[in-house]
């Protein structure tokens, strides 16, 4: 059980939360792990919010439904309201502080502010905010290696958008720096 890692990505439609989750899932599979990616497709999707859960494990995965995830990457305020309280005790919460000006007010989890949109704009495109977040999460948890993550991103984006690839790499680097600080603190 200890080998299983679960994370929720949640935000507005268009913030790239599904893509971030999928990229993590592709990467984990590439590294030979068992993986499930499950999206919300219910009525809440019609309201403009989107979320997905990724489960990564060395062993066969049981329940694909995770009600209390170990980690969450939260991109907007409504998602914090919904998922903030569900994170497992001792878990990890990454908050997109560019758009969310409050915290979960929980003292039993590690909470990290990641100004995703600000960093993304700084490196060249607001669209890579999701990659800043993903990199911060990956660096904080070591769930997959950055080498494979970059490889899978390159594969998925393809060679047709070289300049986009560079911006994504920069987003990775910035997110990674933030995430590494969390990991170092333990």
């Amino acid at each position: 059980m200890a080998t299983q890692k679960e994370v929720v990505f949640a935000g507005f439609g268009g913030q790239g939360v599904m893509t971030a989750g999928q990229l993590l899932a592709y990467t984990a599979m590439e590294e030979g792990k068992q993986v499930i990616w499950i999206p919300s497709y219910g009525p809440e999707m019609r309201g403009g919010t989107a979320n997905c859960t990724v489960v990564v494990s060395d062993n066969r995965i049981g329940s694909p439904v995770i009600n209390t995830p170990q980690s969450a990457c939260i991109f907007n305020r409504p998602s914090l309201d919904r998922f903030g309280a569900t994170i497992k005790k001792g878990g990890l919460l990454l908050i997109n502080s560019s758009l969310i000006d409050i915290t979960s007010e929980r003292d039993d989890i590690t909470e990290v502010l990641v100004p995703c949109n600000d960093i993304a704009s700084k490196v060249g495109s607001a669209r890579v905010a999701n990659m800043v977040m993903l990199a911060a999460y990956v660096a904080a948890t070591d769930i997959v290696s950055f080498k494979t993550l970059k490889k899978m991103l390159t594969e998925k984006l393809g060679s047709r958008k070289k300049e986009l690839l560079e911006i994504n790499y920069k987003a990775f680097d910035e997110g990674r720096k933030l995430g590494k600080k969390i990991a170092d603190k333990g």
């Binding site: 999928q22 068992q34 993986v35």
Partner: protein, 363 residues
């Protein structure tokens, strides 16, 4: 072929192609519209045909006509859509036609909702249409199993000349998992050598495919012919999986599809607390693993059976029937798209064990 990360719905579409089934009739409905979305570009690549019908009633009748040609044909839909096809399903069963039907179940009754459910067990297993017929009903618990069963269902449908239905809850369709397809895809079948398909009567006597028999004796003969097939199916096609079943188990959980996986997580966590629980997961819901479930239920270490479903209790009636209620049977479920959690499953097990302790003290 290398492993791919695929959504259940898309994987089902690809699996049909792997089985050489290139004729697909459908009408979109959540939570399985991605099958049609996938096949509308994928089928033309392999020389297949995708007809989007004007309604599920039309889909059912298109299947009926197409199946009579002996080609491998299939549809995918979700609960309300499957209800609309019931007339044609009954006709196809009566006319001994092979067809594969997928129901990615959502909550009902009526238009219900779009969230995952398992509330069409009765409809699939006990016959949603009229008359003395059965469907072979298979229930996958992972994307890989959905692919494997999809490919196999075409063989089963042809072997027995019968409709086969795969039922999965919305999650099976929506989640992405790694999946492998066979290295070699099957060629589209050639019905010209079949002794029943309507392939054009030039040079041979005409064939009739029908379910209408006005003469009582002839209709009974047809029903007995069907029943003889179901006897064979019950003998040969039973599929199930046991998880952590041992002589230390106190409780035997019965669950199918995604629900069984949720129960596995509960069982793993209970094991860490030194509470031994086993799982029997029927994969074929018809034929139901009757003898096998009775055998597991009858073991002296099993105090009780706990059936868990995403419904208000449907398969539990088969569990009661086949175990002859030799042990106390409890049910727990949620429906409407609410999915029972591992915590709730564990709580139910605690509650049952507590009751047994109390009863023991009393006696």
């Amino acid at each position: 072929m290398a492993k791919k990360l695929m959504k259940g719905n898309e994987a089902l579409g690809e699996a049909a192609i792997a089985a050489g089934a290139l004729n697909y009739f459908a009408y979109p409905i959540t939570p399985q519209s991605e099958v049609a979305e996938y096949l509308c570009w994928r089928l033309p690549q392999v020389g297949g045909n995708f007809v989007q019908a004007e309604s599920e009633v039309a889909v059912g009748n298109m299947l009926f006509g197409a199946a009579a040609t002996g080609k491998r044909i299939f549809t995918t839909s979700s609960s309300p859509g499957i209800s609309l096809m019931q007339e044609a399903i009954s006709y196809m069963a009566g006319a001994h036609l092979p067809v594969v039907l997928i129901n990615i179940m959502r909550g009902g009754p009526g238009l219900g909702g779009i969230l995952p459910a398992q509330s069409d067990y009765f409809q699939a297993v006990k016959g949603g249409g009229h008359g003395d017929y059965r469907l072979v009903v298979l229930a996958p618990a992972s994307v890989q199993e959905a692919v494997d069963l999809m490919i196999e269902s075409f063989d089963i449908a042809e072997r027995y000349l019968t409709p086969v239905m795969i039922i999965g809850d919305g999650m099976i369709g929506q989640m992405m998992e790694s999946v492998e397809f066979p290295k070699k895809y099957r060629q589209q079948n050639d019905p010209s050598k079949s002794d029943w398909a309507l392939t054009g009567a030039k040079g041979r006597s005409a064939r009739v495919v029908k379910s209408l028999f006005l003469d009582g004796k002839k209709l009974e003969d047809n029903c007995l012919k069907l029943e003889a097939k179901y006897v064979e199916i019950r003998k040969n096609e039973v599929k199930y999986e046991l998880y952590k079943v041992s002589n230390k188990n106190k409780v035997l959980i019965t669950a199918y599809g995604t629900m069984a996986r949720i129960c596995q997580t509960a069982i793993d966590e209970l094991e860490e607390e030194k509470i031994s629980v086993g799982l029997m997961r029927p994969i074929s819901l018809y034929p139901f693993p009757e003898k096998e479930m009775f055998k597991e239920a009858n073991k002296p270490n099993i105090l009780a059976i706990l059936d868990i479903e995403m419904s208000t209790g449907q398969m539990v009636e088969d569990v009661e029937r086949v175990t002859k209620s030799i042990k106390p049977i409890e049910f727990f479920g949620h429906t409407g798209g609410i999915v029972p959690t591992p915590e709730e499953v564990k709580d139910k097990v605690y509650e049952m064990l507590k009751k047994f302790k109390k009863d023991k003290k009393k006696s």
